[in-house]
Symmetry: C3
Subunit: 335 residues, 3 copies
């Protein structure tokens, strides 16, 4: 099943195109759905997910866990390590009363990787009721969804998509600042290779935001992305200096600059220093704004900033668990 | 405790030989039993296991999980990786309401391996109520059972045994074709080193089957195995060409030919090509037959065959979970 | 929060010093507490922990598990492998009805280790309700506790502390011999680098014991430790020969001598042989005494000793699970 089949309602075993009627159905639209790309979601879908995520937060505060996924088994299939994402899904599933099969190292045979993935997905699908997949190769989640009889949740496929990260990013903004419409969002760091910012930018295009990019020349956002964002009606959307934009910024979204991208290490050092967020940056930032980061960080954000109440990156992780709980509950048809 | 003590009923703490009376006791025979070898099982035992496995399948279809192993803790102790087998036991335990301690990498000290295994088994036995063991060395499961106060389930010990695989293979045949008696089973691939086919062949000897072997010269079934099978009364039991037997075959059991077995890689390539099952093979096969494979596969079975309803290898994995659920329920005395 | 703030009652969000009133509060003192060092515990605390551990043992015997940690999620965060300790905490949590997120390999970025740990702890704290930490660097547990909003349980930090091991060692002695006061405890092996014996010795100082050390010259207990023990009023506390003390010893605590400590391997071989506990040692030992070992062992204790009822090292592991269950129940305020 492909991304384009937005209503792939696997649990109901139907493949007829119900895309036109789906918006009216609300939560039932998610039942059995693969979560592969941010492109699947409309504004109204996000409202539904965030409403459920808010309920989840309240529930966790009150009682820690519920039993709505009792009897459900989730495969947490990680072809590359990611402590945070993997733990977040494991926590989300268990707080909903479901169980997890954690797979950190798939036993490879000397088979072409795509074929191995297909067989592994079908194998895990015979044991479990849904599969969370993290894979180094772009397009892997789509391949998995094609062969799987159980819902696939893309937890990052190489330079491709990481839709649950983008959803939790939006949820963080809404919860922290009360709204997204009207905000100025500034993205800082590696805007060329970072799938996180690409996915987030696409989702932000569903809202009325001004988008600014701050990146070293080597790591500027791809022209194709910028063009498509402008077409979507997102505000100015241009590359600027951090100094010129920080005092207007409501959301400063920082990403890691990977040392491996630079042939000349002195260039890397210089970039790293000049794009770091520190106490001085926060001094000229608005009083009511937030700094976000998908983590892990190296030194893009100085540790001294952690104590600033505007530093939202650890709260962002917690919001992530609630969003993933919401998605799981929706995909399993338990809302 | 040794394999030969078929009635090692650990939970009752007795070692007296009750082999003659056990068949009359039905399910209670399994209570606290180690599952070490296919040699432990008689025809009537398989009937019991498969009856319970059928109940498990129905239960999973209906409600996903039950609570009969609530309060039970299983150690899933894997000295070598096996995503499928490990996940299958984890799923089986959790669908029965039990919990799993997953151990993928035992911390080795510079001790002789047998001694380390003994200590680890006794350690895990102090925490958990049963131990699933996968180990690269033949005989490891027997060593574990000797020192363990808790039931040991052999999940593969080197070129030794893999009894739960053989049980799930038989269950697959029964469920897919309704019976085993009277069938023609053809085993294809590496019949020399593959423990899977050896264990399966021994269990098939409990039934009235015709057994055929198809293998390259280097990987023919050992004479000792063939002789003991003929002695057991299994049908013709000889090496043949696939072409000559495929149209009479009810069960085509394919195994992987490991590249490492061949010094001359051109021989490997040739073998691999000439023994592959593809759409042409399926064209001359019976209409009502199944193709099985313990997985993972490389290219012994062409991907085009996956769509054929006679391709049973993914369903085989699912049957595996039900058989393991049945064994766990029986060993814990919960049937 | 530092070790010295013995009453760091995180769950109540207070930092005022209540150390003087706490002893009267009994179990409530443990609610939300970090378990970082043996120095936190007074005699009365041990009594409480052991009372609860005894209840846990009875409960496990009777029904395997309870639901008192239902809805609670524990992160089992292991920066270095330790099958036994990790499994013990996983078993303890699950037998109390809680769930576990197991993390064996933290994804490192090229960040300074201390900073990475801080971020990981805060991340795991957003998903889970408590964190068990094993880390190769001394002081790591303190760093974790400083930044964590959730209780930290130190499961070994390099050559630092391993408080739950020391607690289970004491519990083993009490359960096996009925008391600690009046006993002669002899520690054998690596008394220089072994954090296990250092932590245990400090806890023993809360009781009226005679402490003897038996170690090769290279691995003698540090003078600072010996001095502080003598100051605490622990009995003779001197280095002796095993032969001269074995017949008076009530508890023989054996530890592993690590080959890596010796430049000259012939010295290692000689030390290893002369300090090994074997059947001859047991022949001259008291009839009512126990041999303990934190495991894993190499050949400090001959396998032939395993059958001796005085060999308590496997029972010691089981006591460990009950002590960890008790600590978890207390830290979560569920006693």
């Amino acid at each position: 099943m492909k991304i384009s089949e937005l209503d792939n309602v696997k649990s109901q075993g139907t493949s007829m195109d119900r895309i036109n009627v789906l918006p009216d159905e609300g939560v039932s639209r998610f039942d059995g759905m693969d979560i592969l790309s941010v492109k699947q979601f409309k504004h109204r879908d996000l409202d539904i997910i965030f409403d459920v995520a808010r309920d989840m937060r309240e529930m966790v505060d009150r009682q820690g866990a519920v039993d709505i996924l009792k009897g459900k088994l989730l495969s947490n299939l990680f072809y590359e390590p990611s402590t945070r994402t993997s733990s977040s899904f494991a926590a989300a599933t268990q707080r909903l009363g479901g169980n997890v099969i954690q797979i950190n190292n798939v036993t490879f045979s000397s088979v072409s990787k795509g074929e191995e993935l297909r067989d592994t997905i079908r194998s895990m699908g015979s044991y479990s009721d849904a599969i969370v997949l993290r894979h180094p190769d772009e397009g892997s989640a789509d391949i998995a969804a094609e062969v799987s009889e159980k819902p696939i949740i893309n937890a990052g496929d190489g330079i491709g998509e990481h839709p649950t990260q983008a959803l939790l990013d939006i949820f963080t903004i809404v919860e922290e600042l009360g709204t997204i419409d009207g905000l100025t969002v500034t993205m800082l760091g590696d805007l060329k290779y970072g799938r996180t910012v690409h996915s987030l930018a696409k989702l932000l295009a569903l809202y009325d935001v001004k988008l600014n990019f701050v990146a070293p020349d080597l790591l500027k956002a791809p022209t194709a992305l910028v063009d498509s964002l402008i077409e979507s009606g997102v505000g100015p959307c241009k590359h600027v200096d951090l100094d010129s934009i920080i005092s207007e910024t409501d959301v400063l979204y920082v990403t890691r600059v990977q040392q491996e991208r630079f042939v000349d290490q002195s260039v890397y050092e210089k970039v790293n220093r000049s794009y770091a967020v520190n106490v001085d940056t926060m001094d000229i930032a608005k009083e009511r704004m937030i700094v976000m980061h998908p983590l892990p960080r190296v030194d893009e954000i100085s540790r001294a900033v952690d104590k600033d109440p505007r530093a939202a990156y650890f709260r962002q992780m917690e919001y992530g668990m609630y969003v993933r709980m919401a998605l799981l509950a929706l995909v399993f048809g338990k809302v």
